[in-house]
Subunit: 436 residues, 3 copies
């Protein structure tokens, strides 16, 4: 199913505005509810302004014999993003000023765009330049660039708490696989999983936005609300290939988002690297800007800029793998379940150890315990010892070399026996009106 | 002498209550004064209750021909601790339900007990099970389990300060060498050393308790007093064998107890490892519980659970060595002397260096100094430079790669010359009534 | 030029007082303005007192045949520093009590002195002792030791701020190259560079003092002023030989002086080691004493005590190299330029990223950037992202693996565009009267 979805989404000509975005959100909306909101051209968002809407019907370059040399229909990367409408005959010299290539990757069509300066261009494999020997060419770009809207996609699941986990991905790149289709696909599958999970503690928000301008636009509308509610969040991008995981920290570097993600990666036993936040990358640049500093990192596989096919036509179906997508989805689910399980408890019995056997929590004869019984005893004993109102389940799990979510059941058992008291409880049980 | 004492104590049938404890304390009491205090069955201590007192006169299992297969007289480990009185004939099947073995250590009699659930059992070498071929057996357990007392042993040496160093060991295990006889033996030798040392700064308390219930009982009586007075303490256990030392930190992890112990181990040049506090082990589980959080660690050799003979009849005289016991005693004495020497000083001359030669503290011609003179100059110069009211002698000794106690004399010399002023002095010179 | 200067200064008989100091300062004063200040014998400075002034016209030892065995004219190290006047005939035995040698370095004349206890002595190569076979000797020391003055040298450059950078070197050692002539030479060249540099932010102070007593004397006069004004300082010593640099931290260990020096060494790519402050060494002993605790470290090459020729006649021209002196001068200049460039900025645009292209700060098409353009974009982007009022330029440069001074221009560009605001500005633009 995942790759069928991929195949339907891949050919669509997405950009930061236009029908490609709407169509892509509609297709994902068959799996999970996604609300589309339109913001008019000219809408201001901090230092930025929503640009004109761009749509393309077709574009080509023909030589003097009328043979088509470049055709948008073959690959929408051929047309530089936000190319203005144009029809005319141009000399070879003039055409060359509008042809964009990557000499370092001669077989790749580069991905280029000019959102904020009106221009046109065609992107082509560098090793095809020798084909352009004619003196003049016909250039046709049947595009619209006019006042319209920018489309943001959003999903929301209400948990028992107003506090929320935020996932954000972008939906503005034309036909490329890792960057970006892997992001919307993985985010949608996580969203689908959570839709069918009962008793969520946190609320969940899923954003599908054009990169940079989209997150700025959303922040300009809801940024203050996010500052109050988001306890952890992740930018979902570059999640479709690569042997190992990459976690990019939030700018604050030590948030719950960071602690939980690194904990889950470490306990998973899979290879991973952690990189510090930096001002290059995706929407964590905006979410973590000083004015918001949201607790948001990014859990990726091989990240942007770290694979040679990045931002070219070589970033295609041959790179991506369903197996890797599924492994990443599972890692995100483990992460979310760890966040759901995580609590800070205080042990109510502080003078020496409580007597566990009289509560049925401890077998009488040491020699007869199974390994799993011993593991459970270790969980219970460590929860009692380290639940001091400061350590949370993740901290205690780290001491034991276990996933935090494994401590959930023993902690609840101890809570039932009155030996642990959760310090987070007040935060979750306030009923409140839906925010959207 | 140490091994003679060992040989007298080894065969005694100790448990958490009973005459074996009293007799053992009496023998150790020949070396140092130990006060025995009795607490009646039913006395509550936090979540726990003092159980009935247990004493054994004899116990055996005979086969149908009257041949003795298991006899308490041969090794008191054969009888499960706290076995109720029993006399009768049992089938092979029933007997097997009461035979406890360690298949992983087929030549060992396991050490088992059932303090808080009434039952009986015999512990036997696993590879002797094939001997039990008869259809029925005579079982005889001549024990008492009835209202009585739990016995705590305590020693105290008054120093010039109310502040105290606490050593605690346990005295509830039957015939085993490392765990536990090494603990009471080493603690008693340290106690003996301090009894004959003059001018102690700190007071010293020595506890000999049944493990867990004993420390809980003591804490329920004197815990608040200990919280006010104990500046450092150690659980003395597993100190009789192993190439290297093990220091288990206090739960607070950075107390004076931890700093001094790790300092002394490091400067000793001997191999050692440091482990974090965890809720398995001995009475540091109780002393470090959240309600008390005493600054208590545990200075051991090879620790409980880390050697295969642990909690079996193989933990016997062949494991223990007088040489190792003596080396451990010396390490504890170095540790205590470091605590005694440790002070936080403030240099009174803060504008540049004081002129040492005019006080006779510095030789005139550099070339003529012996190595020891240079070492003393280094001590003096560093004490002046780093005594800022925050660094204590241990901190300064760490910078120099020396034992803290080596700085004691030069510090006192500088104090006599008015160049250092101790910030701890007020704490020690208050006279007070004896606490026991 | 540097080595010519060396050759003029090397033969002068410097000590903590006397005409050698004045003459040396006069020669250096040909390059940069150095004010000489005289303090009379008996002047008190904290625990110390300015001693009598010492000058020497000549000194020798002759054997009974009148042959000169030791002559001050050949090497002023032959006469122990502060030797009192003496003329007379002495037995071999008595002479031996006044002959100082280094058995471990038999070819070296040791450097010895006795400032604070009146005495006389000759220093000689240990392997020349067999020459002293006569029964008696003529000893002649034509020195003055009488009330006079101690001479301190000082230079000052006023910047736009009262805050100052302090460099200090010593000028009290007779004919030795690394310790000490390298120090005054390097400091003078840095002073010369700064004299001709425009628009200094900080003021600069250069001290040329007899070691220990000289810095104590200066601190007793101006210590409180230095505490208020010095933001970073370095003792310039042992800067003439050795493959790698040594940085000795200030006693506070984490001052701007330390951060900047270690940053510049690290980014230079040259080998270096960092050592903690300790109370042995040079005038950082006084500057960092508790009463002043100035932010002063010492940037050296191979440091005092770490080379065998230290404090002997073997520390001579053959050890020193002009190339190494120049490399050290350049490192100090890089360090000072980094301090000059360093500012703490706050980004004025905190909600998302500012739009750089509309300010002309960002090229439109990604593919066309040169490497240097990309570097400048990285500087600008990181300055915006990390200028949070806490990170300074050095901190941000560390993240980028660049020298802090490289960020100076892009930071000023962003300041001009109103995107950064310096938090240090107020400190610098107060006009004030010259202090000396």
């Amino acid at each position: 199913m995942l790759m069928d979805l991929f195949d339907r989404l891949f050919p669509i000509n997405r950009s930061i505005t236009g029908d490609g975005v709407r169509q892509s959100l509609r297709i994902l909306g068959e799996i999970v509810p996604i609300k589309q909101t339109e913001y008019a051209t000219g809408t201001e968002c901090f230092d930025w302004t929503v640009p004109k809407e761009w749509n393309v019907r077709g574009a080509y370059v023909k030589d003097s014999q009328g043979r088509t040399l470049i055709d948008f229909k073959e690959n929408n990367l051929h047309l530089m993003g936000y190319s203005v409408p144009f029809r005319g005959y141009v000399s070879r010299e003039e055409l060359m000023e509008h042809l964009l290539t990557r000499p370092d990757l001669p077989n790749a069509i580069p991905y280029m765009m000019s959102y904020y300066k009106e221009s046109w261009g065609f992107c082509v494999e560098h090793n095809r330049l020798p084909e352009f020997t004619d003196e003049w060419y016909e250039v046709f770009i049947d595009s619209d660039l006019q006042d319209g809207h920018m489309t943001l996609g959003e999903g929301f699941i209400q948990g028992s708490s107003k506090q929320e986990i935020l996932l954000s991905t972008y939906i503005c790149h034309p036909s490329m696989a890792i960057n970006e289709l892997s992001g919307p696909l993985v985010q949608t599958m996580i969203y689908h999983y959570l839709l069918h999970r009962k008793n969520l503690k946190y609320s969940y928000r899923f954003l599908y936005l054009p990169e940079t301008i989209g997150s700025l636009l959303y922040l300009s509308q809801y940024g203050e609300q996010l500052k109050q509610r988001v306890v952890a969040g992740y930018v979902v991008t570059c999640v479709g290939h690569g042997e190992s995981f990459t976690y990019k920290r939030s700018k604050r570097a030590d948030t719950l988002a960071d602690k939980a993600a690194i904990h889950v990666l470490k306990q998973s036993g899979k290879p991973y690297t952690v990189v510090d936040w930096n001002p290059f990358g995706s929407d964590e640049r905006q979410y973590c800007s000083e004015g918001f500093k949201l607790p948001m990192g990014s859990l990726m596989r091989t990240m942007y800029g770290q694979y040679p096919e990045y931002h070219t036509s070589l970033d295609n179906r041959s790179l991506i793998s369903e197996e890797v997508l599924l492994e990443t989805i599972q890692m995100y689910i483990d992460l979310i379940e760890t966040l759901e399980a995580n609590e800070t408890y205080e042990c109510t019995h502080i003078h020496g150890e409580p007597k566990l056997d009289k509560r049925g929590l401890y077998p009488y004869l040491g020699g007869t315990r199974t390994k799993e019984e011993q593991r459970q005893i270790s969980f219970i004993t460590n929860l009692i010892a380290f639940s001091d109102g400061h350590n949370d389940l993740i901290d205690i799990a780290e001491k034991l070399g276990e996933m935090g979510k494994e401590l959930n059941k023993p902690a609840q058992l101890l809570e039932q026996h009155g030996l642990l008291r959760s310090l987070n409880v007040e935060r979750y049980n306030t009923q409140y009106d839906l925010v959207n």
